[in-house]
Each structure stands twice: as C-alpha cells, then as structure tokens.
C-alpha cells in the first residue's frame, strides 16, 4: 500500500514538473497571440464599411478575452507547479520522467506519420503509400520485445525523400517515378519483415492487410461513395480507374 502511494506521489511530482514546462509554453503562446490580436482593429476603425464600429463589435474582442484568460490560467498553473516543487524538478532531466526509449518510439512514429501525410499521400499512389506505412508500423512495433523502428523508418524516409525532392511541385505529382521507388521499398521491407519478424499469423497476414485494406478503402471511396481520393493519377489507382470506367462500368450501364 505504501509502495503504491509513494509511486503515486512520484507520478504527481513528475506531472507538476511537466506542468511547469507546459505553463511556460502556454504563457509564450498566449502572449504571442495577444500580440497578433493587436493587428485586428479594436473599435473606432472603419471595419467592413462600418465607420462607427465600437469596441464591442470588434473581431478582436473575444480573442483578446480568450488569450487574456489563457494567460491568467497559465500563470495560475505555473504558480501551482512552483509551489508543489515542480519547478525544481523540471530543471533536472530526471524530473520529467521521459525515458529515452519512449522518446525514440514517439519520434519514430511521428516521423513515419509525417513522411506519410506530408510527402507520400499527395505524391505517391495511395495504395502503395498506405501499404508501406502499414508494413513499416507493423514491422517496427508488432510482437517484438523491443521495437525496431530504424529499418522501417529508413524505408519510409527513402520513399519520402525522392517524392519531396524530385516531385515537390503540384504539377509533377502525377508522375510515377516516386511510385516505383515506393513499390521497390515496399517489397524490400516486406521481405525484411518476413525474414526477421516474429513468427505468427500477423507476419503472414501483413502483406495481405497492407495492400488489401487500402485497395478496398480507396475503391469503396472512389466508386462506392463517389468521393475524391488522394492522388488519382497514382501508378495502381489510375489503372483501376481506367479499368472501371472503360471496361466494367459500360457492362452494367448497357
């Protein structure tokens, strides 16, 4: 019982140390936005053709109140943190309680998601990009005693880099060079996962899930719900779309 209450006290002390930093960040954020709010006319100006705009109709009034309140609450939080000893703990690295392994795990995931959303989804075929992400995430984190995100992260990075560097402008998003690179990396990563991954049904199913689920989703969205999907000119999807409109649809329309 005593051990559990000590652990709780330790967790609370760590939380107050984190509160110290979050309060400082919130103070900086609220001050920045208060400064930005000063750009919005606060009464008396000629706003939207209304000469007699008063302070209470100004677009700045509610934001000023909100960021002012945020600033005050952040100060209160900072005070609570300092009084609970959070500030003293916050200045030592141990006080934050963030382990190196957790930082590595979060960073690897954040970079994978960033590569997927910012580089691959706009430029690479959605089925290939999603298959690479699914394979990378499963290969890095499933069934291993310790995560091994380095190789999957490198694969994601190697796909994202040429997509960003060679096909950065929107005009070149329809080209297929980055699609082929992603396909090659997907095959290589799948082989690596099959070779080194933990045994079990998940390893065998990974390629099926990685390709099958995005394929199903993108087809359902494009042809079932008739919605826009990312990168219609992608290597695989453009072929599917061509086949659907040229071969399949005329069959049931006639």
């Amino acid at each position: 019982m005593q051990v559990s209450s000590e652990a709780e006290a330790e967790a609370r002390a760590q939380l107050r140390a984190r509160d110290f930093w979050s309060a400082l960040a919130l103070i900086a954020l609220s001050l920045f936005f208060l400064w930005r709010t000063l750009d919005i006319p606060l009464g008396g100006a000629n706003s939207a053709g209304v000469n007699s705009a008063a302070w209470y109709t100004s677009a700045a009034m509610v934001p000023l109140g909100l960021f002012g309140a945020l600033f005050c609450l952040s100060l209160v939080l900072l005070g609570i943190s300092i009084r609970s000893g959070g500030a003293a703990r916050a200045l030592s690295a141990a006080g934050l309680g963030w382990s190196g392994a957790e930082i590595a795990r979060f960073s690897a995931l954040a970079l994978m998601l960033l590569a997927y959303i910012a580089a691959l989804v706009p430029r690479v075929d959605f089925i290939l990009a999603s298959a690479l992400l699914i394979t990378a995430m499963i290969a890095a984190f499933h069934g291993r005693a310790q995560p091994r995100p380095l190789v999957p992260l490198l694969a994601m990075g190697a796909a994202a880099l040429p997509a960003l560097v060679l096909y950065f402008p929107r005009a070149s998003w329809g080209q297929h060079g980055d699609d082929w690179v992603t396909l090659a990396l997907l095959v290589a990563l799948t082989l690596w996962h099959q070779w080194t991954g933990p045994r079990g049904p998940a390893r065998r199913l990974t390629p099926v899930l990685a390709v099958g689920v995005p394929l199903l989703l993108v087809c359902a969205m494009a042809f079932g719900f008739r919605q826009n999907v990312p990168n219609r000119g992608g290597l695989i999807f453009s072929q599917i779309e061509y086949g659907y409109y040229v071969h399949l649809r005329p069959v049931w329309r006639s």
Partner: protein, 503 residues
C-alpha cells in the same frame, strides 16, 4: 397526455418509415457490428468509431442513412466496451472502466457468459431509457429554448466548455479549462462571423473558412490513440466462457430497480453538456455502492454493480443527445463527433432544428438498440474473437482509414496536415494530463460563442448588464462563477465553515 400521444404518433410514423426501408437494415447491421468491434478492441473508443464513420458516411449518403450509421456505431461501441472489461479486465472504452471492476471477477468465477448476457440486456434497457427521455424531454426543452436569446446561448456555450473541462480532467480542473480555451481559440481562426475580419490565417487561404471540425475530431481522437497504442504488448488472456450468453431473467427481475435507477442517472449525466459515458458509468457505480445491500460483494463480482455501470453508460447516449439537439451543445465526446456530421450536412442543431430529425433520431436509437441486443446475444463469440487482435496490427489500418476519411470530407490535403498537427498536440496534451474532449467541444462551440457574445453586446450597445438582467443568463452566469470559484481553497474553506455552522 395529449402531448405524449402526439409524440408517440410522430415516433410511430418515423419508425414505420425506417422499418419499411430495406437499406435501413444494411446500414444498421454494418454500423452496429463495426461499433461493437471498435468498442471491443482495447485502444479504440466509441468517439473514435463515430469520428471515423463521420469521415465515411458524414456527407456521402443521405442524412437518414448517415444518422443510422453513426448512431448505430455509437450504441454498439458503448456496449462493445463491456467485452474486454469482462473477459480481459481491460476496459475497451473509458465508459466501461467501471464494468471491469466486477465483470472480470465474475468471468474468473466461470460466470462470464452470465455477465455478458446481463450486460447486453442492461445496455439494451439503458439505451431505451435514455431514448425515452430524449423523446419526452427534448420537446419540453425545445419549447423552453425558444425563449433563449444570444446572451443565454453565449453563456451556455461557455458553461458547457467549463463543465466539460472540470469533469473530464483527471488532474487539475484548471487544465480542463485551459484545454477548452485552446479549443475556443482555435475556433477564432478564419473570418469572424459578424464583420468578416480575418483572424490568425497567417496568409494561408485554407484557414479563411476556419478550422474544419472533422480533421480536428480525427486528429484529436484518432492520432493520439494510434501513437499511444503502437508499443509492444501481449494480448491479454481471454477468460474462458462456459454456457450460453442469455439474459438471466431471475437476476433481471431482482435488479430491475437498480437498472431503472442507473438508467435515470445515466440519462441525467448525459444531459450535462460535455460530460460523457465514462462519468455516467462511474457516478452510477458510486451510487450503487452507496445504496446497495450487497456493498461487501462490490469488486468481487457483484451483479448489481455490473448492471449499475453498464445500464448508465448506454442510457447516457439518449441523454447526451438532448443538449445536442436542443441547444447545439454536445453532451459527450461521441456526440461532439455527431455534431460534426450534422455540420457537414448543413443541419444546425438547436431550437430551429427540424422536428422530423429528432423523431428519426429516436426511431434510429430504438432500432440500433434492438440490433445491438440481438447481435450481443447471438453473435457474441465473433466479438470475443476480435479481442484477440493485437492493436499493433489494427492501429496502422485505423491510421489509413482516418486519412482517407478525413481527406474525402472536403478539405483535401490541407485537412490532413491539420489533422496531423492537431493529433501531435493532442498526444502531448494526453501525456501532460490535459483532457481532449473540452478542446474539441471548444472548437465546435467557439463560433457560436463568438457570434452570440458579440451580438448580445451589439444589441445592448455594449452594456454588459445584458448578461445579468435576463433571468436565464443570470442563472447561467451564477453557475459559471460557481464552477470557477468551486475548486478555489478559499471557497472550499468557506463552504466547510458554513456546513459547520448549519450542523
């Protein structure tokens, strides 16, 4: 009495229209199945189920089918959370955390099938109690809400955000308020609703139309779950089930007062703006512990306590829809996702809502609870198999689902960037024990707060007394002050002193 018959007749015709449409069944079965599966998978929540389906069905099918899909998933997911709670001792959703306390000991005693049968029935009855309350009270409140003007609307939005911040915060209440204020601040981005002045767009034209709700929902609820869940973990040992999953009628008769009480508590808690099913489950559980004669059995496999939490969390659904439909203020985080679906369908919940929509919502809830009951009794073993799926395999699939759902709602790639940005912030907020629900509710209600607050001042020529001169707004202002001053040590001491004098 005439009012009640009128209501029932309206409900009857909405129900008949739904029952006679074969597509209803397809949407119901698929959505309730998906909902139960989402609830049963530890790491996925009811809010996430409704949010992801909003991306798929929000504006792609007629509103009726969209509502069937979202409400079906909502009802299914809240119920589905009981599976891992009972069989794995891991709550599938926050709403079923209290269920695990007595559900798992029952499963360990070899009474897992009985516990599942009872929770299925209790969830079914709970949903119906909440739905009945929705049918009756929504109309009473709609009549009252016709007299609600801008000052009351502004204060109600603020009260909802603060109440949600207070009750959803696991740490200090002030952190919940900060989260709510950050949400409100996000809603200030774009053109302001009265003078069309641009605010905080930083030259990015996408932001001129403001922060879109669906990417915020996806980012706030899906991305942090994915980041938090992607870590090596073994799937827990599923407790063995013996016997058939059927309702124990003798136990149901015995605990009928408990079920009724929990239904009322769940509905009441749900009706509070911004307070979700998890609070309803715990409040009902706590009340059950206080009033029960089986107090010594609590935590060791008490059926009464199991029924207390499970009935309440499902009854909360109907309750949570009352403030959503009457005032446009979501009663729970999944209701906030539903609000997003209403918004992208150009339906504005509130006093001006089409009454037909309310009757259809009630009819859909009844059908969804029946579907859940049938699926729960006859296909439970399928959902038990779902429990064995490791989250490191299904969470990457959820990420792809979230991406394509968010992309197709309308904003394209910009929505995805926004979703990811909000997702990282929400994950950090989770780490620092800031609740996410008030942030989302702040984003949803921010526009309404800004517009109604300034309109109140515009109509009163800047006279701030407009917020105290009307009885409704004065009451709301008093409640807001009580909420803010309540946690202060000075206020607590004064309350204790007052209590001491009274006794």
């Amino acid at each position: 009495m005439e009012f009640l018959f009128g209501q029932l007749a309206g409900f009857g015709s909405a129900f008949a229209a739904l029952v006679s449409d074969p597509w209803t069944y397809l949407y119901l079965i698929v959505s309730v199945f998906l909902g139960i599966s989402f609830g049963a998978l530890p790491g996925l929540t009811a809010t996430l189920a409704v949010t992801i389906l909003t991306g798929f069905f929000g504006n792609k099918v007629p509103l009726d089918y969209s509502l069937i899909a979202l409400l079906g998933a909502y009802v299914g997911a809240i119920y589905g959370g009981s599976y891992p709670s009972i069989l794995l001792n891991i709550p599938g959703t926050a709403a079923s955390a209290a269920t695990a306390m007595d559900g798992y000991p029952l499963a360990r005693q070899g009474r897992g099938a009985e516990a599942l049968g009872l929770t299925t029935t209790a969830s079914f009855i709970g949903t119906l109690v909440g739905t009945l309350a929705l049918l009756v009270f929504v109309w009473v409140l709609l009549l009252i809400s016709k007299n609600i003007a801008s000052p009351e609307k502004a204060l109600l939005a603020l009260f909802g955000i603060l109440l949600s911040g207070t009750l959803m915060s696991e740490d200090l209440a002030i952190k919940g308020w900060i989260a709510g204020l950050v949400g409100l601040a996000l809603a200030m981005v774009g053109m302001d609703p009265i003078l069309s002045e641009t605010r905080y767009t930083f030259g990015w034209s996408y932001l001129l139309s403001g922060i879109a709700v669906v990417p915020v929902l996806m980012g706030a609820f899906a991305v942090p779950q994915i980041i938090a869940g992607m870590r090596p973990a073994k799937t827990g040992e599923v407790a063995a089930l013996t016997g058939r999953i059927l309702p124990n009628t003798a136990a149901l008769r015995r605990y009928l007062p408990t079920i009724g009480r929990s239904g009322v508590i769940g509905t009441g808690v749900g009706a509070l703006p911004g307070v979700g099913e998890d609070v309803a489950g715990w409040v009902s559980y706590g009340v059950g512990k206080t009033v029960s004669a089986e107090g010594d059995r609590f935590g060791k496999g008490s059926l009464e306590r199991l029924l207390s939490s499970e009935t309440a969390n499902n009854a909360c659904i109907g309750g949570a829809l009352i403030p959503l439909l009457v005032l446009g203020i979501p009663g729970s985080p999944p209701a906030a996702a539903l609000m997003g679906a209403f918004k992208i369908n150009n339906v504005i919940p509130g006093p001006t809502i089409d009454p037909e929509i309310i009757l259809r919502v009630v009819a859909i809830l009844v059908l969804a609870s029946c579907t859940m009951f049938i699926m729960g009794l006859f296909t439970a073993r399928v959902f038990i198999k779902v429990l064995r799926l490791p989250q490191t395999v299904f969470l990457p699939l959820v990420m792809v689902l979230t991406t394509i759902g968010s992309f197709s709602v309308g904003g394209g790639l910009n929505d995805l960037y926004l979703m990811l940005g909000i997702g990282f912030v929400a994950y950090l907020m989770n780490l620092l024990c800031y609740p996410i629900a008030p942030l989302v509710i702040g984003v949803i209600l921010g526009g309404m707060f800004d517009e109604t607050f300034r309109r109140s001042l515009l109509l009163s020529d800047g006279d701030l007394s407009v917020f105290v001169s009307r009885p409704g707004s004065a009451i709301l202002l008093a409640l807001i002050l009580a909420l803010i001053l309540g946690p202060l040590p000075g206020a607590k001491r004064a309350l204790y002193r007052l209590k001491g004098r009274m006794t």
